[in-house]
Amino acid sequence: MSDLGKVRIRVPSSIKPGDVVQVRTLVIHPMERIERDAQGKIIPKTYNYITRVVVTYLGKTVVAFDTTQSVSENPFFSFAFRATDPGPLSVEFHDTTGGRYEGKVDITFA
């Protein structure tokens, strides 16, 4: 994948105040899997995968996920939240090598 850490967020095109909104988000990330040698022993190294996903809305953390290597490459997360006020929604991905990848979307009411 070419753009490591590129975050995409999709929210419905029209939102009314108080709606429960389904958000779909995806990040480009290799999510390295455990590798084993010929004897079947795990090769010790720092595997690069996302361990934490934090969703922030209006400055407050709405939800956080702790993730493991069992999540696929280019992981996709979907969650719902109640849109009370217009403002930014951000999703931040942290990986094991210290990478922080953030995506932002402005929640506006139609």
């Binding site: 994948m1 070419s2 753009d3 995409r8 999709r10 779909r24 988000t25 995806l26 480009i28 280019n74 996709f76």
Partner: protein, 436 residues
């Protein structure tokens, strides 16, 4: 095509096949004889090649999971395949055979044979998924049709219905006379009253039609969008010949390629043939960047998607007026109507309203070619977990129908694709799609 012909001349091939190969060379190609010859550059699985097994039989080189069976006895879409449709033959039940309805029912449902249930509904909760291309046979026994008549319909229905889409099962050897007698016995047992229907989706006449898979351009919905973005890096990256796409097409793929894909497939003088974007890339890529872009390779598919995505939203604007285009479209139309293979099917059998379009083939709703089938290709296939272009889709369609596929970049497919794309003329491109 040329490479196919050369192979046919190999002494290892049976004489009858050799005879076809010789007859073929005398036929004029549709294109001008002076134009450059086209040799397939497709990946091995997509080239329609064969290898000779130790026992002398030929095995087709196809994708993993596709049958390697050689259907060389049946005609193909190749322009130089001048064999006629199998002859229409009457048949009578051989003496001494008696039908077993239980065996007949197993054969009716056998996926390795027809399956008959792909087109015809019969009672039973284990009948899944039944199709509706052919008539509902749930009470065929009540019609008291004579056994010899039913036997004839199964052996070769063209004797009674000259334009039927039903294959000549006996004449092409898919089912033996003994098996057909069992099937006749089973059909005669299908009488009213019918058992109560427990699942509306079992019956193709009451089944809900599929709703699709959402927005194909949403990267969180369609993995193909992410794959296409991979080609973005290759657009900028210099190939073995020291040049990158971006060197000659500046301003980024999105701007430089805007509108280009709307004009394909088209006839290109330099190559003397109709080409889809995939075909052109396969010739143009090596000539400029030095990268191969073999037909149906990952590089070809992703670059095709990248170029097509630059035209998303723009209407298809085909050349349908030039003499070359008109001749090619006419040949494509003929291919669409040509009956090929063991099943003796044409595209039109399934993909026109007079045939199966709008009906279920097994669990799949058949599309009408006149509604336009090309604007979303290459497309993500949810059932396969990979991107397919139109060529692979057509090659796959051919294989279970008992037809040796042509090379992915064969001119026959290009002209068929051109004909199919005429139904999309003026409609906006939307690549990549997402389909079953």
């Amino acid at each position: 095509m040329r490479s196919v012909r050369r192979r046919l001349a190999l002494p290892a091939i049976a004489l009858s096949v050799l005879a076809v190969g010789c007859a073929v060379t005398e036929r004029a190609m549709p294109e001008d004889a002076d134009t450059p010859r086209w040799t397939s550059r497709a990946i091995p699985e997509a080239r329609g090649d064969f290898r000779v097994l130790p026992d002398g039989r030929r095995a087709a080189i196809r994708y993993k999971g596709w049958t390697p069976a050689d259907f060389g006895a049946f005609r193909t879409y190749a322009y130089d395949d001048a064999r006629p449709e199998p002859a229409v033959l009457g048949a009578t039940i051989p003496a001494g055979l008696s039908g077993d309805a239980t065996k007949g029912r197993v054969l009716f449902l056998d996926r390795a044979k027809g399956p008959c249930t792909g087109c015809h509904l019969v009672p039973g909760d284990d009948v899944w998924p039944a199709g509706s291309v052919g008539p509902d046979l749930s009470t065929i026994g009540d019609r008291r049709l004579p056994d010899p008549y039913l036997y004839q319909l199964l052996w070769d229905p063209r004797v009674v219905y000259p334009n039927t889409a039903m294959p000549p099962w006996g004449a092409t050897g898919v089912l033996t006379p003994e098996e057909l007698v069992h099937l006749v016995a089973y059909l005669q047992t299908l009488r009213a009253p019918l058992p109560p229907e427990r699942d509306a989706d079992r019956n193709p006449f009451t089944r809900k039609t599929p709703v699709g898979f959402g927005d194909g351009l949403d990267p969180t919905n369609n993995p193909a969008v992410l794959l296409a973005e991979d080609a973005q890096a290759q657009w900028e990256e210099k190939g073995p010949a020291g040049r990158a796409c971006a060197d000659c097409h500046p301003g980024g793929a999105e701007r430089a390629m805007r509108g280009v894909a709307t004009r394909y497939p088209k006839h290109l003088k330099a190559y003397g043939r109709v080409m889809s974007l995939e075909d052109f890339l396969e010739a143009h890529g090596p000539e400029t960047t030095g990268r191969p872009y073999a037909a149906e390779s990952a590089d070809n598919l992703t670059m095709t998607m990248l170029v097509k995505m630059a035209s998303n939203g723009l209407p298809v604007t085909l050349d349908t007026a030039s003499p070359e285009a008109r001749a090619a479209i006419a040949r494509g139309r003929a291919t669409f109507a040509k009956r090929v293979g063991q099943r003796n099917h044409s595209c039109a059998d399934c993909h026109t309203r007079d045939g199966g379009a709008g009906k279920f083939l097994g669990g799949r709703l058949l599309a009408d070619a006149r509604d336009g089938l090309t604007r979303h290709l290459p497309t993500w296939r949810t059932s396969q977990g990979e991107v397919w272009d139109l060529r692979k889709r057509v090659q796959w369609c051919m294989t279970p129908l008992g037809t040796n596929m042509l090379a992915a970049d064969a001119v026959e497919y290009a002209e068929l694709e051109l004909y199919l794309t005429t139904f999309d003329d003026g409609k906006p491109l939307r690549v990549p799609g997402i389909r079953h």
